[in-house]
Symmetry: C2
Subunit: 291 residues, 2 copies
Amino acid sequence: MTIQRLIEDRYGLPLCDHFPQCGEEHSQSGHTTQPTEDNSTLRTILQHASARKFESEKIQESLMQLLFATAFSAPSKSDLQQVSVVRITDPSQRKRIISSNPKIAWTEHAPQFMVWCADNRRIRKVCEEKDYPFANDHLDSFMNAAVDAGIVMQTFIIAADSVGLRCCPISEVRDNIESLSMELNLPEHVFPVAGLCVGWPSESPSTSMRLPLNITVHVNKYDDEEALFRISDYDHRREAIDQPPTEKQRQPERFGIADIYGWSEDRARQYSVPLRSGFGCYIRKQRFNLC
Amino acid sequence: MTIQRLIEDRYGLPLCDHFPQCGEEHSQSGHTTQPTEDNSTLRTILQHASARKFESEKIQESLMQLLFATAFSAPSKSDLQQVSVVRITDPSQRKRIISSNPKIAWTEHAPQFMVWCADNRRIRKVCEEKDYPFANDHLDSFMNAAVDAGIVMQTFIIAADSVGLRCCPISEVRDNIESLSMELNLPEHVFPVAGLCVGWPSESPSTSMRLPLNITVHVNKYDDEEALFRISDYDHRREAIDQPPTEKQRQPERFGIADIYGWSEDRARQYSVPLRSGFGCYIRKQRFNLC
């Protein structure tokens, strides 16, 4: 399948339809004819999909170590390296983590399970050891550590996808964040960003169609004047290939049964219910200053 | 160069030295002999380096569009797609953004410059249009949007690296976040996470050595009892291949000239000075509730 076709599948639209000016420029320069068709990295990323069903086969430990070594090669904000991952290898510990949240019961049989954490403790310990003041106890530090955890986790996912494994990031591990935090023995200034399951997929998971790039890519100024119209078109494109059954509509007792139940309807219903409203309280207990 | 050698270069240690149990398992299963040596995605990630010096040659517009299409294939928290990127194509606008911050003067000649933003506005607009309550006005929403922006940006970086381009993420764009935000016309509930320069590199940038994985990868419980000792070894390994000249030591008037000026000394000196302490205030003005 060509790269252009992979893009068309990912967006339900050919690439040219996203941009007002599209098409191949004519140029004599040396770099403009770089072959992308046989670029397996672009193919891996464009075909990314999360999997929840895995073969029972274990993943070789040497491969896991290779993937971690690859993931932590990701760029790091100011070279601070504020990421830690906790691998859950003890089955009874995994059971305890899962037992408090039925939404993640399916993770019980995933070959590997881990929790990616933002780690702002390391730099604080280094400052303390040297007796230098840590002068960045504010919101920027919280965000940088969280973003870096996401960056390293995504690098792990791409690396895993490239060898044929599949992953599923699980933000629901944060639903019971205080008990998870105790279970993992997380000290102050460390917190979970997402869980991740990894395994050899037992079925080919479907890719998730993305918003068109004329919504997400802006030029010089942020501009979402046309966004709602474009989202409506997107809802129709998505629904045409992946209409959820009526019984999967969220909260019909509250919002009724929608004729067109697209991305925006599903997301809006999801976010009409508070999720993890205690997260800020937990983060303050982990001694982050969010000012 | 073998993958094992790339890892050794990245960490200054062979992979086996990171883990108490290391080595190839003997297994008869089908997946355990996946060839990793010719896996160009692993190689691309392991060889990642940020570049600040670029050839003057432009990047084909069709290639930029392909990279954006690839980047936005990244996983998205609850499929909410809370990321926007603003490309700065107007040279006078780029000059205005750069002029307020001498630390990023070098970005003036990068072929491409963009700002990755966390975008929590889209889902709020969708809820408003449908007249459903947005029930997640708390810290979780702020963090999810920021993390997703980092995830998509990193996916862009890996895609760009894979075609031979090089990038440099620039968190310093947040040093003057209010003026940047006005320049980009960012509405409420949208904020910059990082700038990014992209171009064809004019020199081969050096990779940044990473902390050993026995600091960053934990098993079942978070444990950093040995971390400071291991950081000291890491400082020596890093210094052995990349000793910064004495005049590059930060704040000698305050902390003196260190004999061993490794990673930890440099990072601790950096964070002894407040950076972006007004970020929280700006985020609240963008109408995020951080409770």
